[in-house]
Protein backbone atom coordinates (compact mmCIF):
# COMPACT_ATOMS: atom_id res chain seq x y z
CA UNK A 1 0.00 0.00 0.00
CA UNK A 2 2.77 2.44 0.85
CA UNK A 3 5.17 0.90 -1.62
CA UNK A 4 4.18 3.37 -4.34
CA UNK A 5 6.47 6.09 -5.63
CA UNK A 6 4.15 9.03 -5.09
CA UNK A 7 1.09 10.13 -3.16
CA UNK A 8 -2.01 9.94 -5.33
CA UNK A 9 -5.72 9.96 -4.78
CA UNK A 10 -5.57 6.17 -5.11
CA UNK A 11 -3.60 6.04 -1.90
CA UNK A 12 -6.41 7.82 -0.07
CA UNK A 13 -9.01 5.52 -1.56
CA UNK A 14 -7.06 2.50 -0.44
CA UNK A 15 -6.55 3.95 3.02
CA UNK A 16 -10.25 4.66 3.29
CA UNK A 17 -11.06 1.06 2.35
CA UNK A 18 -8.57 -0.22 4.93
CA UNK A 19 -9.81 1.93 7.80
CA UNK A 20 -13.48 1.32 7.11
CA UNK A 21 -12.92 -2.41 6.86
CA UNK A 22 -11.26 -2.26 10.28
CA UNK A 23 -14.58 -0.88 11.63
CA UNK A 24 -13.31 2.64 12.29
CA UNK A 25 -16.52 3.96 10.77
CA UNK A 26 -17.07 6.64 8.14
CA UNK A 27 -16.80 9.72 10.34
CA UNK A 28 -13.58 8.74 12.11
CA UNK A 29 -12.03 7.56 8.85
CA UNK A 30 -12.85 10.80 7.04
CA UNK A 31 -11.48 12.85 9.92
CA UNK A 32 -8.22 10.88 10.04
CA UNK A 33 -7.76 11.15 6.28
CA UNK A 34 -8.62 14.90 6.25
CA UNK A 35 -6.01 15.46 8.95
CA UNK A 36 -3.56 13.40 6.91
CA UNK A 37 -4.17 15.59 3.86
CA UNK A 38 -3.53 18.70 6.00
CA UNK A 39 -0.28 17.30 7.30
CA UNK A 40 0.82 16.26 3.82
CA UNK A 41 0.25 19.87 2.68
CA UNK A 42 1.69 21.58 5.73
CA UNK A 43 4.74 19.35 6.03
CA UNK A 44 5.15 19.04 2.25
CA UNK A 45 5.19 15.25 2.49
CA UNK A 46 6.05 13.69 -0.85
CA UNK A 47 6.83 10.07 -0.10
CA UNK A 48 4.06 7.55 0.59
CA UNK A 49 6.26 6.07 3.32
CA UNK A 50 6.23 9.43 5.10
CA UNK A 51 2.49 9.73 4.60
CA UNK A 52 2.20 6.32 6.22
CA UNK A 53 4.20 7.44 9.23
CA UNK A 54 2.07 10.58 9.52
CA UNK A 55 -1.13 8.51 9.56
CA UNK A 56 0.35 6.03 11.98
CA UNK A 57 1.34 8.73 14.48
CA UNK A 58 -2.01 10.42 14.07
CA UNK A 59 -3.87 7.19 14.87
CA UNK A 60 -1.67 6.47 17.86
CA UNK A 61 -2.18 10.02 19.16
CA UNK A 62 -5.94 9.65 18.85
CA UNK A 63 -5.88 6.56 21.04
CA UNK A 64 -3.33 7.99 23.46
CA UNK A 65 -5.56 10.97 24.10
CA UNK A 66 -8.00 8.53 25.60
CA UNK A 67 -5.47 6.24 27.27
CA UNK A 68 -4.17 9.33 29.06
CA UNK A 69 -7.52 9.53 30.79
CA UNK A 70 -6.90 6.23 32.50
CA UNK A 71 -7.37 6.71 36.21
CA UNK A 72 -4.40 5.62 38.29
CA UNK A 73 -5.48 2.49 40.12
CA UNK A 74 -4.93 3.01 43.84
CA UNK A 75 -5.15 -0.18 45.84
CA UNK A 76 -5.77 0.87 49.42
CA UNK A 77 -5.02 -1.41 52.33
CA UNK A 78 -8.18 -2.82 53.81
CA UNK A 79 -10.45 -1.33 51.15
CA UNK A 80 -11.55 -3.83 48.51
CA UNK A 81 -10.91 -2.50 45.00
CA UNK A 82 -14.23 -3.20 43.28
CA UNK A 83 -14.34 -3.84 39.55
CA UNK A 84 -17.82 -3.82 38.04
CA UNK A 85 -17.87 -5.54 34.64
CA UNK A 86 -20.64 -4.61 32.22
CA UNK A 87 -21.59 -4.87 28.57
CA UNK A 88 -24.04 -6.26 26.05
CA UNK A 89 -24.72 -9.97 25.71
CA UNK A 90 -21.96 -12.38 24.83
CA UNK A 91 -19.07 -9.91 24.58
CA UNK A 92 -16.75 -11.78 26.95
CA UNK A 93 -17.43 -10.27 30.39
CA UNK A 94 -17.34 -13.45 32.44
CA UNK A 95 -14.22 -14.73 30.69
CA UNK A 96 -12.52 -11.33 31.09
CA UNK A 97 -13.28 -11.44 34.81
CA UNK A 98 -11.52 -14.80 35.06
CA UNK A 99 -8.53 -13.31 33.24
CA UNK A 100 -8.44 -10.25 35.51
CA UNK A 101 -8.71 -12.50 38.56
CA UNK A 102 -5.67 -14.43 37.42
CA UNK A 103 -3.81 -11.23 36.64
CA UNK A 104 -4.42 -9.77 40.11
CA UNK A 105 -3.70 -13.09 41.76
CA UNK A 106 -0.33 -13.20 40.02
CA UNK A 107 0.34 -9.75 41.46
CA UNK A 108 -0.08 -11.28 44.91
CA UNK A 109 -3.54 -9.87 45.62
CA UNK A 110 -6.49 -11.55 47.34
CA UNK A 111 -9.27 -11.87 44.81
CA UNK A 112 -12.99 -12.60 45.16
CA UNK A 113 -15.68 -12.94 42.52
CA UNK A 114 -19.37 -11.99 42.68
CA UNK A 115 -21.85 -13.89 40.52
CA UNK A 116 -23.98 -10.88 39.70
CA UNK A 117 -25.59 -12.49 36.63
CA UNK A 118 -28.56 -14.15 38.25
CA UNK A 119 -30.54 -14.28 35.05
CA UNK A 120 -28.88 -16.23 32.25
CA UNK A 121 -28.91 -20.03 32.26
CA UNK A 122 -25.83 -21.41 34.03
CA UNK A 123 -24.18 -17.98 34.37
CA UNK A 124 -23.50 -18.63 38.04
CA UNK A 125 -22.16 -22.11 37.24
CA UNK A 126 -19.86 -20.64 34.61
CA UNK A 127 -18.32 -18.20 37.09
CA UNK A 128 -18.04 -20.92 39.72
CA UNK A 129 -16.02 -23.08 37.32
CA UNK A 130 -13.57 -20.21 36.94
CA UNK A 131 -13.52 -19.69 40.69
CA UNK A 132 -12.63 -23.35 41.24
CA UNK A 133 -9.96 -23.31 38.57
CA UNK A 134 -8.31 -20.22 40.05
CA UNK A 135 -9.00 -21.17 43.68
CA UNK A 136 -10.81 -17.89 44.16
CA UNK A 137 -14.02 -17.64 46.26
CA UNK A 138 -17.24 -16.86 44.41
CA UNK A 139 -20.11 -15.14 46.21
CA UNK A 140 -23.37 -16.35 44.70
CA UNK A 141 -27.05 -16.74 45.43
CA UNK A 142 -29.52 -18.89 43.52
CA UNK A 143 -30.49 -18.13 39.94
CA UNK A 144 -33.23 -15.54 39.89
CA UNK A 145 -31.97 -13.77 43.00
CA UNK A 146 -31.80 -9.97 43.07
CA UNK A 147 -28.37 -8.98 41.69
CA UNK A 148 -28.26 -6.06 44.15
CA UNK A 149 -28.54 -8.52 47.03
CA UNK A 150 -25.69 -10.69 45.71
CA UNK A 151 -23.51 -7.63 45.23
CA UNK A 152 -24.30 -6.49 48.78
CA UNK A 153 -23.20 -9.88 50.10
CA UNK A 154 -20.13 -9.71 47.91
CA UNK A 155 -19.10 -6.33 49.32
CA UNK A 156 -19.68 -7.62 52.84
CA UNK A 157 -17.65 -10.79 52.23
CA UNK A 158 -14.83 -8.80 50.64
CA UNK A 159 -14.47 -6.79 53.83
CA UNK A 160 -14.79 -9.75 56.16
CA UNK A 161 -12.24 -11.81 54.27
CA UNK A 162 -9.86 -8.94 53.44
CA UNK A 163 -10.17 -9.21 49.70
CA UNK A 164 -7.96 -6.77 47.82
CA UNK A 165 -9.89 -7.13 44.56
CA UNK A 166 -13.62 -7.79 44.11
CA UNK A 167 -14.67 -8.60 40.54
CA UNK A 168 -18.41 -8.28 39.96
CA UNK A 169 -19.96 -10.11 37.02
CA UNK A 170 -23.22 -8.78 35.62
CA UNK A 171 -25.69 -10.15 33.12
CA UNK A 172 -25.25 -9.15 29.51
CA UNK A 173 -27.78 -6.49 28.63
CA UNK A 174 -28.65 -4.43 25.58
CA UNK A 175 -28.33 -0.71 26.28
CA UNK A 176 -31.74 -0.28 24.66
CA UNK A 177 -33.45 -2.01 27.58
CA UNK A 178 -34.47 0.63 30.07
CA UNK A 179 -35.17 -1.71 32.99
CA UNK A 180 -31.87 -3.52 32.62
CA UNK A 181 -29.90 -0.26 32.52
CA UNK A 182 -31.80 0.90 35.63
CA UNK A 183 -30.86 -2.40 37.29
CA UNK A 184 -27.22 -1.65 36.56
CA UNK A 185 -27.51 1.80 38.13
CA UNK A 186 -29.05 0.18 41.18
CA UNK A 187 -26.19 -2.33 41.45
CA UNK A 188 -23.74 0.57 41.42
CA UNK A 189 -25.70 2.39 44.13
CA UNK A 190 -25.62 -0.71 46.34
CA UNK A 191 -21.83 -0.67 46.07
CA UNK A 192 -21.53 3.05 46.76
CA UNK A 193 -23.67 2.77 49.86
CA UNK A 194 -21.29 0.15 51.17
CA UNK A 195 -18.03 1.83 50.16
CA UNK A 196 -18.08 5.42 48.95
CA UNK A 197 -15.31 4.89 46.40
CA UNK A 198 -16.77 1.70 44.96
CA UNK A 199 -16.81 0.68 42.20
CA UNK A 200 -13.27 1.99 41.64
CA UNK A 201 -13.31 0.50 38.18
CA UNK A 202 -16.29 0.09 35.84
CA UNK A 203 -15.15 -1.99 32.91
CA UNK A 204 -17.14 -2.12 29.69
CA UNK A 205 -16.35 -5.22 27.64
CA UNK A 206 -16.79 -4.77 23.91
CA UNK A 207 -16.55 -7.52 21.32
CA UNK A 208 -13.89 -6.80 18.69
CA UNK A 209 -16.31 -7.99 15.99
CA UNK A 210 -18.83 -5.27 16.84
CA UNK A 211 -19.40 -2.61 14.23
CA UNK A 212 -20.69 0.92 14.67
CA UNK A 213 -23.06 -0.13 17.45
CA UNK A 214 -20.00 -0.32 19.72
CA UNK A 215 -19.95 3.47 19.93
CA UNK A 216 -23.61 3.59 20.95
CA UNK A 217 -22.93 0.90 23.55
CA UNK A 218 -20.06 2.89 25.03
CA UNK A 219 -22.17 6.05 25.15
CA UNK A 220 -25.21 4.43 26.72
CA UNK A 221 -23.31 2.43 29.31
CA UNK A 222 -21.27 5.50 30.23
CA UNK A 223 -24.49 7.46 30.73
CA UNK A 224 -25.82 4.76 33.03
CA UNK A 225 -22.77 3.87 35.13
CA UNK A 226 -19.73 6.02 34.26
CA UNK A 227 -17.40 3.60 32.49
CA UNK A 228 -13.80 4.04 33.66
CA UNK A 229 -12.16 1.53 31.32
CA UNK A 230 -12.91 -0.49 28.23
CA UNK A 231 -11.75 -3.99 27.35
CA UNK A 232 -11.86 -5.19 23.77
CA UNK A 233 -12.30 -8.95 23.75
CA UNK A 234 -11.76 -11.44 20.90
CA UNK A 235 -8.95 -9.53 19.22
CA UNK A 236 -7.46 -12.92 18.33
CA UNK A 237 -10.09 -13.07 15.58
CA UNK A 238 -9.92 -11.22 12.27
CA UNK A 239 -11.94 -8.21 13.47
CA UNK A 240 -9.78 -5.26 14.47
CA UNK A 241 -12.15 -3.55 16.91
CA UNK A 242 -11.66 -0.26 15.05
CA UNK A 243 -14.64 1.25 16.84
CA UNK A 244 -12.02 1.91 19.55
CA UNK A 245 -10.96 4.98 17.55
CA UNK A 246 -14.48 6.38 17.44
CA UNK A 247 -14.86 5.75 21.17
CA UNK A 248 -11.53 7.42 21.93
CA UNK A 249 -12.41 10.35 19.70
CA UNK A 250 -15.96 10.94 20.90
CA UNK A 251 -15.91 9.82 24.52
CA UNK A 252 -12.28 9.82 25.55
CA UNK A 253 -12.83 6.59 27.48
CA UNK A 254 -9.53 4.71 27.81
CA UNK A 255 -9.19 1.26 26.31
CA UNK A 256 -7.27 -0.55 29.03
CA UNK A 257 -7.29 -4.26 28.18
CA UNK A 258 -7.46 -6.53 25.19
CA UNK A 259 -8.67 -10.11 25.21
CA UNK A 260 -6.71 -12.32 22.86
CA UNK A 261 -8.17 -15.78 23.40
CA UNK A 262 -10.35 -18.04 25.49
CA UNK A 263 -7.64 -19.10 27.96
CA UNK A 264 -7.36 -17.36 31.30
CA UNK A 265 -3.94 -15.97 30.39
CA UNK A 266 -5.19 -14.31 27.18
CA UNK A 267 -5.35 -10.77 28.50
CA UNK A 268 -2.98 -7.90 27.81
CA UNK A 269 -2.80 -4.26 28.67
CA UNK A 270 -3.93 -2.15 25.73
CA UNK A 271 -0.97 -0.60 23.96
CA UNK A 272 -1.91 2.02 21.34
CA UNK A 273 1.34 1.53 19.42
CA UNK A 274 1.14 -2.24 18.99
CA UNK A 275 -2.58 -1.99 18.36
CA UNK A 276 -2.16 0.51 15.51
CA UNK A 277 0.81 -1.36 14.07
CA UNK A 278 -1.23 -4.56 14.01
CA UNK A 279 -3.94 -2.83 11.98
CA UNK A 280 -1.92 -2.61 8.81
CA UNK A 281 1.38 -0.96 9.33
Amino acid sequence: LFERSEITEDLFEDLEALLIQADLGVETTLELLDNLRDRIDRERIKQPADAREALRTEMIALLENATRNRKIKIYQRGVPFVILVVGVNGTGKTTTIAKLAKYHQDQGRNVMLVAGDTFRAAAIDQLKVWGERLKVPVIAHDPGADPGAVVFDGMQAAYNRNADILLVDTAGRLHTKYNLMEELKKIRKVMQRHVAEAPQEVLLVIDATTGQNGLVQAKKFAEAVEITDIAIAKLDGTARGGIAFAIARELGTPISYVGTGEQVTALAEFNPVTYVDALFF
Binding site: A17, N89, G90, D125, Q126, T176, D236, A239
Partner: protein, 292 residues
Protein backbone atom coordinates in the same frame (compact mmCIF):
# COMPACT_ATOMS: atom_id res chain seq x y z
CA UNK B 1 -32.00 9.34 8.00
CA UNK B 2 -31.00 8.50 4.46
CA UNK B 3 -34.32 9.89 3.30
CA UNK B 4 -33.55 13.27 4.93
CA UNK B 5 -30.04 13.35 3.49
CA UNK B 6 -31.20 12.51 -0.01
CA UNK B 7 -33.93 15.13 0.18
CA UNK B 8 -31.26 17.66 1.16
CA UNK B 9 -29.04 16.58 -1.75
CA UNK B 10 -31.80 16.98 -4.30
CA UNK B 11 -32.99 20.24 -2.80
CA UNK B 12 -29.47 21.59 -3.08
CA UNK B 13 -29.34 20.47 -6.68
CA UNK B 14 -32.47 22.47 -7.24
CA UNK B 15 -35.23 22.16 -9.70
CA UNK B 16 -33.56 22.33 -13.10
CA UNK B 17 -35.91 19.97 -14.84
CA UNK B 18 -33.52 17.08 -15.33
CA UNK B 19 -30.83 15.63 -13.16
CA UNK B 20 -27.34 14.94 -14.37
CA UNK B 21 -25.16 11.94 -13.66
CA UNK B 22 -23.16 14.10 -11.25
CA UNK B 23 -26.32 14.73 -9.27
CA UNK B 24 -26.91 11.01 -9.08
CA UNK B 25 -23.28 10.54 -7.96
CA UNK B 26 -23.85 12.85 -5.05
CA UNK B 27 -26.96 10.90 -4.07
CA UNK B 28 -24.99 7.66 -4.36
CA UNK B 29 -22.39 9.00 -1.96
CA UNK B 30 -25.15 9.43 0.64
CA UNK B 31 -26.43 5.91 0.00
CA UNK B 32 -22.92 4.56 0.36
CA UNK B 33 -22.36 6.41 3.59
CA UNK B 34 -25.66 5.26 5.06
CA UNK B 35 -24.91 1.62 4.29
CA UNK B 36 -21.37 1.80 5.70
CA UNK B 37 -22.76 3.38 8.86
CA UNK B 38 -25.18 0.46 9.01
CA UNK B 39 -22.19 -1.93 9.04
CA UNK B 40 -22.64 -3.23 5.51
CA UNK B 41 -19.31 -4.52 4.25
CA UNK B 42 -17.20 -2.08 2.22
CA UNK B 43 -16.96 -4.26 -0.89
CA UNK B 44 -20.62 -5.25 -0.72
CA UNK B 45 -21.54 -1.54 -0.53
CA UNK B 46 -19.42 -0.79 -3.58
CA UNK B 47 -21.20 -3.44 -5.67
CA UNK B 48 -24.59 -2.54 -4.22
CA UNK B 49 -24.24 1.16 -4.94
CA UNK B 50 -23.12 0.54 -8.51
CA UNK B 51 -26.27 -1.56 -9.06
CA UNK B 52 -28.40 1.20 -7.56
CA UNK B 53 -26.59 3.83 -9.59
CA UNK B 54 -27.27 1.97 -12.81
CA UNK B 55 -30.98 1.99 -12.09
CA UNK B 56 -30.94 5.57 -10.86
CA UNK B 57 -29.20 6.81 -14.01
CA UNK B 58 -31.69 4.87 -16.08
CA UNK B 59 -35.04 6.57 -16.59
CA UNK B 60 -36.21 6.26 -13.02
CA UNK B 61 -34.56 9.07 -11.09
CA UNK B 62 -33.52 11.52 -13.76
CA UNK B 63 -37.11 12.35 -14.56
CA UNK B 64 -38.68 11.66 -11.19
CA UNK B 65 -40.84 14.27 -9.50
CA UNK B 66 -39.48 13.29 -6.12
CA UNK B 67 -35.96 12.02 -6.88
CA UNK B 68 -35.06 11.46 -3.23
CA UNK B 69 -38.00 9.13 -2.76
CA UNK B 70 -37.25 7.44 -6.04
CA UNK B 71 -33.69 6.69 -4.96
CA UNK B 72 -34.94 5.35 -1.63
CA UNK B 73 -37.39 3.12 -3.47
CA UNK B 74 -34.62 1.72 -5.67
CA UNK B 75 -32.33 1.16 -2.67
CA UNK B 76 -35.09 -0.57 -0.71
CA UNK B 77 -35.95 -2.72 -3.71
CA UNK B 78 -32.33 -3.75 -4.24
CA UNK B 79 -31.91 -4.48 -0.51
CA UNK B 80 -34.96 -6.72 -0.46
CA UNK B 81 -33.72 -8.55 -3.57
CA UNK B 82 -30.50 -9.44 -1.76
CA UNK B 83 -32.03 -10.12 1.66
CA UNK B 84 -34.07 -12.90 0.13
CA UNK B 85 -37.37 -14.52 0.82
CA UNK B 86 -39.38 -14.30 3.97
CA UNK B 87 -40.23 -17.18 6.26
CA UNK B 88 -38.09 -19.87 4.69
CA UNK B 89 -38.76 -22.87 6.91
CA UNK B 90 -36.36 -25.34 8.41
CA UNK B 91 -35.79 -28.14 5.90
CA UNK B 92 -37.17 -31.28 7.48
CA UNK B 93 -35.76 -34.64 6.42
CA UNK B 94 -37.82 -37.06 4.33
CA UNK B 95 -36.99 -39.72 6.87
CA UNK B 96 -36.54 -38.47 10.44
CA UNK B 97 -34.55 -37.48 12.30
CA UNK B 98 -33.79 -34.11 10.77
CA UNK B 99 -30.30 -33.12 11.83
CA UNK B 100 -29.59 -29.44 12.47
CA UNK B 101 -26.16 -28.12 13.39
CA UNK B 102 -25.57 -24.62 14.67
CA UNK B 103 -22.18 -22.89 14.25
CA UNK B 104 -20.64 -19.45 14.64
CA UNK B 105 -18.28 -17.13 16.47
CA UNK B 106 -18.00 -17.03 20.24
CA UNK B 107 -20.93 -15.44 22.04
CA UNK B 108 -23.12 -15.01 18.93
CA UNK B 109 -26.15 -16.71 20.53
CA UNK B 110 -25.91 -20.35 19.37
CA UNK B 111 -26.86 -22.11 22.60
CA UNK B 112 -29.79 -19.79 23.23
CA UNK B 113 -31.11 -20.29 19.70
CA UNK B 114 -30.77 -24.06 19.74
CA UNK B 115 -33.18 -23.91 22.67
CA UNK B 116 -35.48 -21.41 20.97
CA UNK B 117 -35.74 -23.57 17.85
CA UNK B 118 -36.22 -26.73 19.91
CA UNK B 119 -39.06 -24.96 21.69
CA UNK B 120 -40.71 -23.97 18.39
CA UNK B 121 -40.43 -27.54 17.09
CA UNK B 122 -41.88 -28.95 20.26
CA UNK B 123 -44.84 -26.56 20.01
CA UNK B 124 -45.37 -27.86 16.45
CA UNK B 125 -45.70 -31.34 17.85
CA UNK B 126 -42.25 -32.62 16.86
CA UNK B 127 -39.83 -34.45 19.15
CA UNK B 128 -36.59 -32.46 19.37
CA UNK B 129 -33.38 -33.57 21.02
CA UNK B 130 -30.68 -31.03 21.82
CA UNK B 131 -27.05 -32.11 21.76
CA UNK B 132 -24.37 -30.57 24.00
CA UNK B 133 -21.34 -30.72 21.72
CA UNK B 134 -19.52 -27.74 23.28
CA UNK B 135 -17.06 -29.43 25.61
CA UNK B 136 -14.85 -26.38 26.06
CA UNK B 137 -16.75 -23.43 27.47
CA UNK B 138 -17.17 -23.63 31.25
CA UNK B 139 -20.72 -24.72 32.08
CA UNK B 140 -21.79 -24.82 28.42
CA UNK B 141 -23.40 -28.20 28.98
CA UNK B 142 -25.11 -26.90 32.15
CA UNK B 143 -26.41 -23.98 30.12
CA UNK B 144 -28.02 -26.22 27.50
CA UNK B 145 -29.37 -28.57 30.16
CA UNK B 146 -30.87 -25.67 32.11
CA UNK B 147 -32.58 -24.43 28.94
CA UNK B 148 -33.72 -27.98 28.18
CA UNK B 149 -35.29 -28.12 31.62
CA UNK B 150 -37.10 -24.84 31.02
CA UNK B 151 -38.69 -26.05 27.78
CA UNK B 152 -38.95 -29.72 28.71
CA UNK B 153 -36.75 -30.89 25.83
CA UNK B 154 -34.11 -33.55 26.48
CA UNK B 155 -30.41 -32.82 26.13
CA UNK B 156 -27.90 -35.43 25.02
CA UNK B 157 -24.54 -35.01 26.67
CA UNK B 158 -21.44 -37.07 27.32
CA UNK B 159 -19.72 -34.55 29.56
CA UNK B 160 -16.68 -32.45 28.81
CA UNK B 161 -14.18 -35.30 28.37
CA UNK B 162 -15.87 -36.70 25.27
CA UNK B 163 -15.11 -35.86 21.67
CA UNK B 164 -17.71 -33.63 19.98
CA UNK B 165 -17.74 -35.84 16.88
CA UNK B 166 -18.59 -38.93 18.96
CA UNK B 167 -21.16 -36.96 20.93
CA UNK B 168 -22.90 -35.93 17.72
CA UNK B 169 -22.78 -39.46 16.24
CA UNK B 170 -24.09 -41.07 19.41
CA UNK B 171 -26.83 -38.48 19.74
CA UNK B 172 -28.07 -39.22 16.22
CA UNK B 173 -28.00 -42.94 16.92
CA UNK B 174 -30.00 -42.40 20.10
CA UNK B 175 -32.47 -40.20 18.23
CA UNK B 176 -33.04 -42.94 15.68
CA UNK B 177 -33.49 -45.57 18.40
CA UNK B 178 -35.82 -43.47 20.51
CA UNK B 179 -37.82 -41.71 17.80
CA UNK B 180 -36.67 -38.11 18.22
CA UNK B 181 -37.56 -36.35 15.01
CA UNK B 182 -35.18 -33.37 15.09
CA UNK B 183 -31.63 -33.39 16.46
CA UNK B 184 -30.24 -29.94 17.23
CA UNK B 185 -26.47 -29.87 17.71
CA UNK B 186 -25.03 -26.97 19.71
CA UNK B 187 -21.34 -26.47 18.94
CA UNK B 188 -18.66 -24.39 20.63
CA UNK B 189 -18.04 -20.85 19.48
CA UNK B 190 -14.98 -20.73 17.23
CA UNK B 191 -12.96 -18.34 15.09
CA UNK B 192 -13.15 -19.05 11.37
CA UNK B 193 -9.34 -18.85 11.33
CA UNK B 194 -8.87 -21.46 14.07
CA UNK B 195 -7.79 -24.39 11.93
CA UNK B 196 -8.22 -27.26 14.46
CA UNK B 197 -11.63 -25.94 15.53
CA UNK B 198 -12.80 -25.51 11.94
CA UNK B 199 -11.65 -29.04 11.21
CA UNK B 200 -13.63 -30.23 14.21
CA UNK B 201 -16.83 -28.73 12.93
CA UNK B 202 -16.15 -30.10 9.44
CA UNK B 203 -15.70 -33.55 10.93
CA UNK B 204 -18.92 -33.31 12.94
CA UNK B 205 -20.75 -32.43 9.73
CA UNK B 206 -19.05 -35.25 7.86
CA UNK B 207 -19.99 -37.70 10.58
CA UNK B 208 -23.70 -36.89 10.88
CA UNK B 209 -24.52 -35.23 7.54
CA UNK B 210 -26.80 -32.46 8.86
CA UNK B 211 -29.83 -31.45 6.80
CA UNK B 212 -29.36 -27.91 8.05
CA UNK B 213 -26.14 -26.13 9.02
CA UNK B 214 -27.07 -22.74 10.41
CA UNK B 215 -24.62 -19.90 10.94
CA UNK B 216 -25.55 -17.86 13.99
CA UNK B 217 -24.51 -14.23 13.53
CA UNK B 218 -24.82 -11.31 15.90
CA UNK B 219 -26.76 -8.39 14.37
CA UNK B 220 -24.13 -5.95 15.64
CA UNK B 221 -21.27 -7.61 13.74
CA UNK B 222 -19.21 -5.18 11.71
CA UNK B 223 -17.11 -5.47 8.57
CA UNK B 224 -15.71 -8.94 9.28
CA UNK B 225 -19.15 -10.57 8.92
CA UNK B 226 -18.32 -11.29 5.29
CA UNK B 227 -15.04 -13.05 5.96
CA UNK B 228 -16.48 -15.06 8.82
CA UNK B 229 -19.51 -16.21 6.84
CA UNK B 230 -17.53 -16.98 3.71
CA UNK B 231 -15.11 -19.20 5.57
CA UNK B 232 -17.81 -21.10 7.46
CA UNK B 233 -19.67 -21.52 4.17
CA UNK B 234 -16.61 -22.64 2.26
CA UNK B 235 -15.88 -25.32 4.80
CA UNK B 236 -19.38 -26.45 5.68
CA UNK B 237 -21.88 -25.50 2.98
CA UNK B 238 -24.23 -23.54 5.24
CA UNK B 239 -27.95 -23.90 4.61
CA UNK B 240 -29.23 -20.97 6.61
CA UNK B 241 -28.55 -18.01 8.84
CA UNK B 242 -29.84 -16.96 12.25
CA UNK B 243 -29.48 -13.25 12.97
CA UNK B 244 -29.44 -12.67 16.74
CA UNK B 245 -29.83 -9.75 19.15
CA UNK B 246 -32.07 -7.89 16.74
CA UNK B 247 -33.84 -6.45 19.79
CA UNK B 248 -30.92 -4.02 20.10
CA UNK B 249 -30.41 -0.95 17.93
CA UNK B 250 -27.66 -2.27 15.68
CA UNK B 251 -28.68 -1.57 12.07
CA UNK B 252 -27.90 -5.14 11.02
CA UNK B 253 -25.95 -4.41 7.84
CA UNK B 254 -23.99 -7.62 8.46
CA UNK B 255 -27.07 -9.48 7.26
CA UNK B 256 -26.89 -7.80 3.86
CA UNK B 257 -23.18 -8.53 3.64
CA UNK B 258 -23.59 -12.19 4.53
CA UNK B 259 -26.54 -12.63 2.19
CA UNK B 260 -24.73 -11.11 -0.74
CA UNK B 261 -21.64 -13.26 -0.39
CA UNK B 262 -23.09 -16.47 0.95
CA UNK B 263 -26.67 -16.36 -0.28
CA UNK B 264 -28.25 -18.78 2.20
CA UNK B 265 -31.69 -17.87 3.53
CA UNK B 266 -32.15 -16.06 6.83
CA UNK B 267 -34.26 -18.58 8.71
CA UNK B 268 -34.71 -17.00 12.13
CA UNK B 269 -34.35 -13.64 13.83
CA UNK B 270 -33.45 -13.58 17.52
CA UNK B 271 -35.24 -10.78 19.33
CA UNK B 272 -34.40 -11.28 22.99
CA UNK B 273 -33.01 -13.49 25.69
CA UNK B 274 -36.19 -15.37 26.50
CA UNK B 275 -36.98 -18.70 24.85
CA UNK B 276 -39.93 -17.31 22.92
CA UNK B 277 -37.93 -14.37 21.54
CA UNK B 278 -37.50 -15.69 18.03
CA UNK B 279 -39.28 -14.60 14.88
CA UNK B 280 -39.44 -15.51 11.23
CA UNK B 281 -37.53 -13.31 8.85
CA UNK B 282 -39.20 -10.49 6.91
CA UNK B 283 -36.90 -8.86 4.36
CA UNK B 284 -38.82 -5.60 4.13
CA UNK B 285 -38.48 -5.05 7.87
CA UNK B 286 -34.75 -5.64 7.82
CA UNK B 287 -34.41 -3.42 4.75
CA UNK B 288 -36.08 -0.54 6.60
CA UNK B 289 -33.84 -1.07 9.55
CA UNK B 290 -30.65 -1.12 7.50
CA UNK B 291 -31.77 2.06 5.76
CA UNK B 292 -32.23 3.66 9.14
Amino acid sequence: TLSDRLTAVFQRIGNKGRLTEQDVDEAMREVRRALLEADVNYKVVRDFVSAVRERAVGEEVLKALTPAQQVIAIVRDELIKILGEERVPLQLAQVPPTIVMVVGLQGSGKTTHVAKIANLLKKEGRRPLMVAADVYRPAAIDQLQTLGGQIDVPVYSEGTKANPIDIAKNAVKLAKDRGYTVVLIDTAGRLQIDEPMMQEVERIAEAVKPHEILLVADAMTGQEAVNVAQEFHRRLALTGLILTKMDGDARGGAALSIRSVVGVPIKYIGTGERIDAVEPFYPDRLASRILG
